[in-house]
């Protein structure tokens, strides 16, 4: 799996969580909570999607590291050993 594939999964999940959001223009570094108006339930859904589709379980202590789209991709890629 490549970083682009990881990114595609995460973006698709975000699309399910925030239907109607403009994901094409989503900044790589914007805080997802602000950019997409996500609440804690939405964040949990995103983590659930990452666990289900990418088989990476984000421990509670790491959740705060996944703020932006780039953070998410970098974190998952790191856990999967994808360069």
């Amino acid at each position: 799996m490549t970083k682009d594939e990881i990114r595609a999964v995460i973006v698709r999940r975000l699309g399910d969580i925030a239907p109607g959001a403009e994901l094409d223009g989503l900044s790589e570094t914007a805080d997802l909570r602000d950019a997409l108006d996500l609440d804690s339930m939405d964040q949990l859904s995103l983590l659930g999607g990452i666990e289900k589709e990418l088989h990476v379980t984000v421990p509670p202590a790491d959740v705060s590291r996944l703020r932006s789209l780039r953070d998410c991709v970098t974190y998952v890629a790191g856990r999967l050993g994808v360069g």
Partner: protein
Amino acid sequence: MSEFLMPSLGADMAAGTLRFWLRKPGDHIARGEIIAEVETEKGIVEVESYVTGTIERLLVEPGTQVPVGTPLALVRTEGEVAAASPPAQAPSAPAPPLPAVTTTPLVPPRRPRVSPLARRRAKALGIEAEQLAGTGPDGAVTVDDVERAVLPGGAPTTRKPSGVPSPSSPAERVAAMRRAIGAAMARSKREIPHYYLRTTVDFGPALAWLEQANEKRPVVERLLPAVLFVRAVALALREVPELNARWAGDEPRPNEHINVGFAITLRGGGLVAPALLDADRESLDVLMRAFARVVEDARAGLQRSSQMAEGTITVTSLGERGVETVFPIIYPPQVAVVGVGRVVERPWVVDGRVVVRPVVDITLAGDHRATDGHRGGLFLAKVGQLLAHPEAL
């Protein structure tokens, strides 16, 4: 014979439109079973039966808007004898026959996507959502596809027949919801003498406990702070039951069930506050599953009548990224509402020393006709004590 009425699903509902009957005359129905779908300004509501019995007649046709309290059906409760003669000219529509679903897979390149709401709706209607032709993004099966499939003569891609209300546009729904919320809140502010109390609680023990508890759980079973607040409110209400009440005529009537409504913001505008039923009796895990489900349903525009009609208090949490303190407005006919602010780090005195602690403001708006600030204060203090010992929640 019992009349099944258009339920009042909150102070902001004057009328509802019957969308579908899910049961037909002659069907046995159990209390709590979903028997119809009603559309209100706040979305689609699955209406549960509040009696056990047999449907004798359906009185209202799908597509009809009727005021709250209008009889929708006649139900013969258990023990009653069937009507001597069959109902003549029942103005009801017979339950639509289930359509023949496609039995040959369309050889999809991958498993068809089905929205969670569509999947549940399909299950309720006894059809396979996966076998419908989807009209959503990437061919996803939407709830509309499911609904079309069960209409008389409906095939997955046929047009909607007349008689069934077509959903209004999103903008119209938001405007209607805004009017409904405005009417309920104007009534609340006009009629209810609110008093407001605030307490600040050290949320450190709860956060530490949550992190530890979640460490062992898969993501889908993790607990959110919201359920700790709901649970603490529910348990505190056992000690101050007069806050867990609804107006019945001229008097506030404490409720034997503690059904905590939780205000959920909807994308696109508006909010709903479905209740977590018997929140004092359920474990945190059960509450979390119920919470996740009502959030998902609410955001999909679907609610259950019991969750909408039986709330006995409401919790509103605006604090995740926003304000430190919430001054909420009571949702009639309830007599109290709890506001939860943002968890922030503040200097805090522990054993005579100033330390930095995560703290949260919890507020209570109470109806002064039902309770006094003294009792409200005891309630908030109890909530704080409960949150200091999350392991006991």
